[in-house]
């Protein structure tokens, strides 16, 4: 990198808008080139002066009457919005209320939602949880595997029975 390159990158370097490799290259060159180093320092000082001048100008501005004037015009100039159009201005409260309502629904839903439809069971298996009237022993079977098994539901109490049609000898020696 030579002095011409640095001259083109000078603004970007002072504003630290260059990429890290470019920043490094310019800094390395400035460390060995007093002319470029001086140019960088001069530009930095100039920007500092400009900033101070602007801050002084801003400090001298009298804004004490600005806000009362703005406040006085707000009721007259703000169009009346109704219904859904007014929602965005009230979003912090409305959003929270809606979130609360949704949360309540979700929360309560875990205890009052009807049971979800059981997944289809593999061939040869019967899922016995179809009844809408739920008994105290209601059970839903999401998955069932085994050999020679059958699922039955006792009609009166709704108790689910998974029968393993095992050999009678094993079951009752």
């Amino acid at each position: 990198m030579d002095c011409q390159d640095v001259e083109q990158l000078l603004d970007g370097f002072v504003d630290t808008e260059l990429s890290p490799p470019e920043l490094l290259d310019v800094a390395r060159h400035a460390a060995t080139c007093s002319a470029c180093d001086g140019a960088i320092r001069g530009l930095t000082d100039l920007r500092g002066e400009l900033t101070r001048l602007l801050e002084d100008e801003v400090r001298q501005l009298d804004l004490s009457r600005l806000w009362p004037a703005v406040a006085a015009t707000i009721p007259a100039s703000r169009p009346r919005r109704a219904g859904i159009a007014a929602l965005p201005r009230q979003l912090p409260v409305w959003g929270a209320v809606m979130a609360l309502a949704a949360s309540l629904l979700l929360w309560l839903g875990t205890s009052v939602q009807p049971p979800s439809t059981p997944k289809p069971s593999p061939a040869g298996e019967r899922v016995a949880s179809r009844s809408r009237v739920q008994s105290p022993n209601h059970a839903e079977i999401d998955r069932l595997s085994g050999k020679d098994i059958a699922v039955r539901r006792e009609p009166k109490s709704g108790t689910t029975v998974i029968w393993v049609n095992h050999t009678v000898e094993d079951a009752n020696p």
Partner: protein, 175 residues
């Protein structure tokens, strides 16, 4: 409190309910009761099961029932628990959580290392389901019934499924 502050508080409450509400049930203990009953066509019925006989007869069709064992255990969620139900069989439970007032659990019935049943069930809180090993009365001459009750409750151990039985674990006998 400003409107924004009130909104933020409500949103925080809603978030807290979402995060912690459904999990409260899971924090409560799960009481499991496993009762093993032998069903036979004839013979005396166990006095402890006399009151339950009509219901058992609806389930299995046999006339006489003998209590082989009863176990009650307070189990931890997402921990595997094994219940010896006699005859070389064991009931392996993995309670997974509560949803919609139902106890979700994986239940495996093993005979030795052989897996007789492997199922995922959602049992209504405090409800009982039954595993029958053998054949029902229409085609068999005896069966073993394993009654499984699960209750997610902050209170004490559950009422016994079977009337007039001791809440303590009874001795196991081989079917």
């Amino acid at each position: 409190m400003t409107r924004e502050g009130f909104g933020a508080a409500l949103a925080g409450l809603a978030g807290a309910m979402l995060m912690f509400g459904p999990r409260v049930a899971d924090a409560q203990p799960l009481d499991i009761q496993v009762t093993t009953v032998r069903a036979v066509e004839s013979g005396p019925c166990d006095p402890q099961l006399e009151a339950l006989r009509p219901r058992l007869r609806h389930i299995a069709g046999y006339r006489a029932y003998q209590l082989l064992g009863e176990q009650q255990r307070r189990v931890a969620w997402r921990n595997t628990e094994a219940f010896d139900v006699g005859g070389g069989r064991s009931l392996i439970l993995l309670p997974k959580g509560m949803a919609d007032q139902r106890v979700m659990m994986q239940v495996r019935l093993l005979e030795g290392r052989k897996r007789l049943v492997d199922t995922n069930v959602r049992l209504l809180n405090g409800g009982t389901m039954v595993f029958g090993v053998g054949r029902d009365a229409r085609s068999g001459d005896g069966a073993i019934l394993i009654l499984l009750r699960a209750e997610n409750s902050p209170q004490s151990l559950p009422q016994t499924v079977l009337p007039h039985t001791s809440p303590q674990t009874t001795a196991q006998s081989s079917p």
